[in-house]
């Protein structure tokens, strides 16, 4: 065992990369849940985004086209959820599960010819002079655009929810859809937009896994991080900045256990690999005592009688 092989600077830099897919998916789901919709299909939308982004990036040779395609793919799958829950008024839990099961199968079908293919590299940004600084450089100034986009998105969602009229209406719909409807807001239309936004974010997160983090395509490669993103929204108490904090915590655990595996710690690999899931449960337990901040209409079906 050689713990000195673990470089703390590289660890922090790589935990940011590991956290980005969870961060993107979770911030999207946060907006969906703020609008009062519980979409359990995050895992399915992520894996669909992962293959859509991968396929398009490989075909066009441009990772950026891939990311756009991934967002479109995730949003397209979430459109199915829209049809089921907003138009057919189906149970949201069951529909979300269906979305995940379908997405896993569908992505495997799409991805058959992409196994073992190498995607085009996503370039890292270079900030003049700053990227070469000793400690801060690799941590803050040597990443790809999507990673920064994730952080900006958190700030944007926070500001939009807190300071804009749009955010206020979105929260009103999530807290009490009957009252919002009585005030004349289009509850279903607002929720549809929120769900599509969530789908696009999850798709983007999925593509980050297949194009940057791994970068490769294998069936079921998101391995439950969509579910971790869902858990993250709960223990962030539906607050954007806490999502960022939580995502980095999880990225940290994932990267740390991989580093410990590589360093040959005396704990068996399987027990290290299960640690992110166990920690998710523990954090959920600690933080789920406070349910007061959950949107009041979360998961409830809205049907305007007139």
């Amino acid at each position: 065992m050689d713990l000195s092989a673990i470089n703390p600077v590289l660890l922090v830099a790589s935990l940011m990369v590991a956290a980005t897919p969870i961060l993107l998916a979770a911030i999207g789901e946060l907006v969906v849940e703020k609008a009062g919709v519980l979409n359990l299909g995050v895992e399915g939308m992520m894996i669909t985004g992962a293959i859509c982004g991968f396929a398009i990036a490989v075909e066009t040779g441009s990772p950026w086209a891939g990311f756009i395609g991934a967002a479109a793919g995730g949003a397209a799958l979430s459109l199915l959820f829209v049809l089921l829950t907003q138009l057919a008024l189906a149970n949201q839990v069951a529909s979300g599960l269906g979305l995940t099961l379908f997405g896993l199968g569908f992505s495997a079908l799409l991805g058959q010819s992409y196994v073992g293919v190498k995607p085009p590299a996503t370039p890292k940004l270079e900030f003049l002079g700053l990227s070469d600084l000793s400690v801060i450089g690799p941590i803050l100034f040597h990443h790809d655009l999507i990673l920064y986009f994730g952080i900006v998105l958190v700030a944007a969602v926070w500001a939009a929810l807190k300071y804009t009229r749009m955010g206020l209406i979105l929260r009103a719909v999530g807290e009490n859809h009957d009252a919002a409807h009585a005030l004349g807001y289009k509850v279903v239309r607002i929720r549809i937009l929120a769900i599509l936004f969530g789908g696009a974010c999850a798709g983007l997160g999925g593509a980050y896994v297949s194009l940057v983090r791994v970068p490769q395509w294998t069936e079921g490669m998101t391995a439950g991080i969509g579910w971790i993103a869902l858990a993250l929204v709960v223990f962030a108490s539906w607050k954007p900045w806490r999502v960022l904090l939580g995502a980095y915590l999880f990225g940290g655990i994932t990267v740390l256990q991989l580093n410990l595996q590589a360093a040959g710690v005396a704990i068996p690999v399987e027990y290290l690999a299960m640690s992110p899931y166990v920690v998710t449960i523990l954090v959920l337990v600690i933080l789920s005592a406070d349910k007061s901040s959950a949107p009041a209409s979360l998961g409830r079906i809205f049907h305007a009688a007139r």
């Binding site: 057919a88 579910w227 858990a231 449960i281």
Partner: protein
């Protein structure tokens, strides 16, 4: 303009018809999908739904129907109890794995002892293993209000890692020349769940049928079953009627965990035979579809389990004969759930055409 009018009572006719319509719609859209993949849609549908039952090699496939259907029905029966009450155990896959590990562990501990009590002990072990694994989300929900959906699902990934660890370590066959995987329980007469392998009969099939009967009696003739249905339909009324939600959570999650654990045990000591890394093939997740397709009703689940087993076997045939990818059948099953959920609209609402009027 089309408006939806809520029915005062869910329509009984539509409740029975939606699964059939959903299956038909899935066949049509699935056929189009297979067509897009370059297979003749009619041939694909015939291969999946007809050949396993009446085709040339049906004598080989029919027993498989029991083998594939039993775990699905066993797990789905347990899940349906919770789903009825709004308690979402979606980690049956994990409970299935742990039940199999505990049961197989007991069996392997007795190897090569020849005694009548080995298999019954394994059955108890399997049930207790699955029950205990489901008790984790149950107790956390009761004590801390933790979301059971997320916890039970996270535990699937934990269970998969435990399975990998066991098949590479503790339960590895000492005479296996270093290959991963345990001894084959199907070859150990005191521990096998097979009753008659030629007709596909193992103890899991028997237990699945018993579970169907038990669930039917519980839901229709027993106070606890009434409480389950009441909690699902009207949670507030249930509280006033004196239903203890904590006890209900413990019972529903515990029962579904125990049944999933049993399914795992019967699978590992029969059809699968040994503890190996790829032992679980998603029965725990497919059972969710089975439970919904069967309208959360025990008899419906029995039929839905048979249908889903058919798509598994048909999918395998289509894979080998037509070169359809394995994932296509997964998409097919997912589609079935979609159509079912969407068509449920007709059960609870009336679709009316109405001229738009001035407000």
């Amino acid at each position: 303009m089309i408006v939806l009018e809520k029915r005062p009572q869910p329509s009984r006719e539509w409740a029975l018809a939606t699964p059939l319509v959903a299956v038909l719609a899935t066949m049509i859209v699935g056929g189009l999908l297979f067509g897009a993949l370059g297979t003749n849609p009619l041939v694909a549908i015939r291969t999946i739904f007809w050949d396993p039952l009446f085709g040339e090699f049906a004598f080989y496939y029919r027993p498989q129907l029991l083998v594939k259907g039993a775990p699905l029905v066993l797990i789905a029966i347990g899940l349906s109890l919770g789903f009825k009450a709004g308690i979402w155990n979606i980690g049956a896959e994990g409970q299935y794995i742990i039940g199999a590990l505990v049961g197989a562990g007991i069996g392997l501990a007795f190897y090569p002892l020849d005694a009548w009590y080995v298999f019954p002990l394994m059955v108890i072990g399997g049930a207790v293993g699955g029950w205990a694994w489901a008790m984790i989300p149950a107790l956390l929900k009761v004590r801390f209000g933790t979301n059971e959906i997320l916890v039970s699902l996270m535990l699937v990934y934990v269970a998969e890692q435990l399975l990998a660890s066991m098949s590479l370590g503790l339960l590895k066959n000492p005479e296996g020349h270093g290959f991963p995987g345990s001894r084959n329980l199907a070859d150990y007469p005191s521990a096998t769940s097979w009753i008659n392998q030629d007709v596909g009969l193992h103890w899991g099939v028997a237990f699945a049928l018993i579970a169907v009967i038990f669930a039917y009696v519980l839901l229709n003739r027993h106070m606890l079953g009434f409480h389950i249905r009441l909690t699902g339909d009207a949670p507030r009324a249930a509280r006033f009627a004196g239903v203890n939600p904590a006890r209900l959570i413990l019972f529903c999650l515990g029962a579904s965990g125990a049944l999933a654990g049993l399914a795992g045990l019967f699978e590992i000591s029969g059809p699968a035979g040994q503890v190996s890394i790829d032992f679980n093939i998603g029965y725990g997740f497919t059972a969710i579809i089975v439970a919904f397709l069967g309208r959360l009703h025990p008899v419906g689940i029995l039929l839905a389990g048979a249908l889903m087993a058919l798509t598994y076997i048909g999918g395998e045939i289509a894979q080998s004969q037509l070169g359809l990818p394995a994932a296509a059948i997964q998409v097919f099953q997912g589609m079935l759930l979609f159509f079912l959920l969407a068509l449920d609209l007709l059960t609870n609402f009336r679709v009316r055409m109405r001229k738009s009027e001035v407000a």
